[in-house]
């Protein structure tokens, strides 16, 4: 008689695991990502919405944003003019939709330029002591000039154009990125694997590109997102005080600058671009917050 035969009578076999546990929620890869990083999902979704809006501006029931119609000036928002018309009869709705282009171009342009230049300077000065002392003193000096003032001063020197706005804001932002990258590089170069690479005779450019650069990318991407948001505000600020994008180009700052004279009687001219600007900047900031939590847990703990 063996003891390991059939179960005794009255024993019901164990139910299948799948019947006991609640069904595992089936999430697509995208859904899983959104569940884990809600801020990235919301911010990213809203940013892409604004990007699409900027690209497809001509298809969004807009008219020529620069078309003058003095006879129909300062009309309040209506079915025909959704956001009203400004003092020259231009359709504020069309201007606001087209204005997204400038804000996004300046935001992304500054983020990309400042991040790459700052990355370059930071890598070099973090790794080469002789360069470090000089470059960082210069950066300290530049950082002592409030960035919007630095941008104002540079815009005063040049002709108003979108490129010059990007350059001026980039120059004001580069010191911050360089400092950040340099700080990361200084801690990385003490890491055993970098020492090992040096000991193995790897040449400095190779060490910087293969061993240091990849580890600086996460904080730089996070920083670039925040730079994008602040550059949009900076562009609007510069245009608002008359030192930014040329008045002929509809940008959110320019629309507000033009609406300024009339804001007490026709507040909607200032109101609509202000709302669009704020929501766009908010989306980019949300994206940045999410990216920071996901990519850079050390920083997330601190702030």
């Amino acid at each position: 008689m063996s003891t390991t035969t059939l179960p005794p009578d009255g024993f019901t076999p164990a139910p299948k695991l799948a019947d006991v546990l609640p069904p595992r929620k089936e999430r697509s890869k995208l859904g899983m990502f959104a569940y884990r990083h809600p801020t990235i999902a919301v911010g990213g979704f809203m940013v892409s919405l604004f990007v699409l809006m900027a690209i497809f501006a001509p298809l969004l029931w807009t008219v020529d944003p620069t078309a003058l119609a003095p006879a129909r000036r300062t009309r309040p928002p209506s079915e025909l003019y959704w956001f009203g018309t400004d003092m020259l009869g231009r359709d504020v709705y069309s201007r606001v939709i087209y204005g997204a282009r400038i804000s996004l171009i300046v935001g992304f342009g500054v983020a990309i330029c400042a991040a790459s230049i700052g990355l370059f300077i930071g890598l070099i000065s973090g790794f080469i002591r002789a360069v470090d002392a000089v470059v960082m003193r210069i950066m300290d000096g530049m950082m002592s000039i409030p960035s919007i003032l630095l941008a104002i001063a540079m815009m005063a020197l040049t002709r108003a154009s979108v490129e010059n706005v990007i350059i001026a804001i980039t120059i004001a932002d580069v010191p911050r990125v360089s400092r950040l990258v340099r700080g990361v590089v200084l801690t990385l170069r003490e890491q055993p694997y970098v020492e090992a690479a040096i000991a193995a005779g790897t040449r400095t450019p190779m060490i910087i590109i293969k061993h240091i650069l990849p580890n600086t990318l996460a904080p730089v991407i996070v920083q670039a997102t925040f730079l994008c948001a602040s550059a949009m505000i900076a562009e609007a600020t510069l245009s608002f005080i008359g030192a930014g994008t040329p008045p002929i180009i509809p940008s959110w700052g320019n629309i507000m600058a033009e609406g300024r004279a009339l804001w007490q009687v026709k507040p909607y001219i200032v109101f609509f671009p202000a709302v669009f600007l704020s929501i766009t900047v908010l989306s980019v900031n949300l994206l940045g917050d999410g990216l920071r939590d996901a990519l850079d847990p050390r920083m997330a703990k601190r702030i």
Partner: protein, 313 residues
């Protein structure tokens, strides 16, 4: 302490030197030849050359920089192209509104942001915390002039609680001064509050986990005393650091706020100067604000030793 102070003050000199060099270069490369402008349309190239030499404009960059620096140190910032008045005089006339606005904003922002951050850290994870964090993200995202217009429209135009625009000097009574500056200070303070509340919350979260906070709790120290005496004092260094760094944003914001609320301060001066391409004025204001920023951060550095006696460099 004294040695530390002296060392810190000396350390700011090279920074200020680089700021001065940078600002001088801006004017140096500014378009427009002053000699040609002074000489007028009828002048021959020789005349222009003579005027250039008499103004000292033909000498090398470094000589002109040192001469300019020497004059700046004596308080001479040059003469405005537009009004022909000394720039230092023009700035001095407009200092009071700007200084008042900054002082009021700083007071208002600190007295809002620090309690907000402390309470958010204390009630970590609750709806109060979420609300403060939401405010912090919003404060960063809404530009100063947008906040300004919303406030002015609501509280000045619709409710008529405050004047819409303008400035009343302090010498005309404190009532008008405060009521004129309240809305600008709130508008300018919004981003600053967001920044400080965020840092206060983050630092307080760290500090509240320390052993000495537990000890204080065990001793039966009251909640308020723990938060505002034991914990806040230890969280002070990061907070004042960010106040110093954020001061740059405050300066930039003041330029815009003064435009929105028509306050005749230094910010308005520089905005008007941009429209007229009045380079000496732009240069003077940038220099003045930058030095202010450096000095504020010097004060912050010196305050470290007050809040944290362990710091002895």
């Amino acid at each position: 302490m004294f040695a530390y102070t002296v060392r810190r003050v000396i350390a700011t000199i090279p920074v200020m030197g680089i700021v001065a060099l940078f600002v001088f270069s801006l004017l140096y490369i500014a378009p427009g030849d002053p000699a040609a402008i002074i000489a007028g349309d009828q002048a021959t190239p020789e005349d222009v050359e003579r005027i250039r030499a008499s103004l000292g404009l033909d000498r090398p960059f470094i000589v002109r920089f040192l001469e300019w620096l020497f004059r700046v140190l004596q308080g001479d910032l040059g003469v405005s192209i537009f009004t022909n008045l000394p720039v230092s005089h023009m700035i001095k006339q407009r200092l009071e509104p700007t200084f008042s606005l900054m002082l009021l904003t700083l007071t208002f922002a600190l007295s809002c942001a620090i309690p907000m951050g402390v309470v958010a850290a204390w009630k970590h994870g609750t709806w109060i915390d979420r609300f403060v964090m939401l405010f912090a993200v919003l404060g960063f995202s809404v530009p100063v002039f947008v906040v300004g217009y919303v406030l002015a429209y609501t509280f000045a135009l619709q409710l008529d609680w405050f004047p819409v625009q303008g400035y009343t000097p302090l010498s005309n009574g404190i009532g008008g001064w405060v009521s004129n500056l309240t809305l600008p200070a709130v508008a300018l303070g919004s981003a600053f509050i967001a920044l400080i509340a965020r840092i206060t919350r983050a630092t307080m979260l760290e500090v509240l986990n320390q052993d000495y906070v537990r000890t204080a709790k065990a001793k039966g120290v009251g909640q308020r005393a723990i938060l505002f005496v034991h914990a806040l004092k230890n969280a002070a260094v990061p907070i004042i650091t960010i106040v110093g760094i954020g001061f740059a944003g405050l300066i930039g914001g003041a330029v815009v706020t003064e435009s929105v609320f028509a306050i005749p301060g230094v910010g308005r001066l520089v905005v008007d100067a941009i429209l007229r391409r009045d380079y000496p004025v732009i240069q003077g204001v940038v220099l003045m604000f930058s030095f202010t920023y450096v000095i504020v951060n010097l004060i912050v550095d010196l305050l470290y030793t007050v809040f944290d006696p362990r710091i002895r460099y």
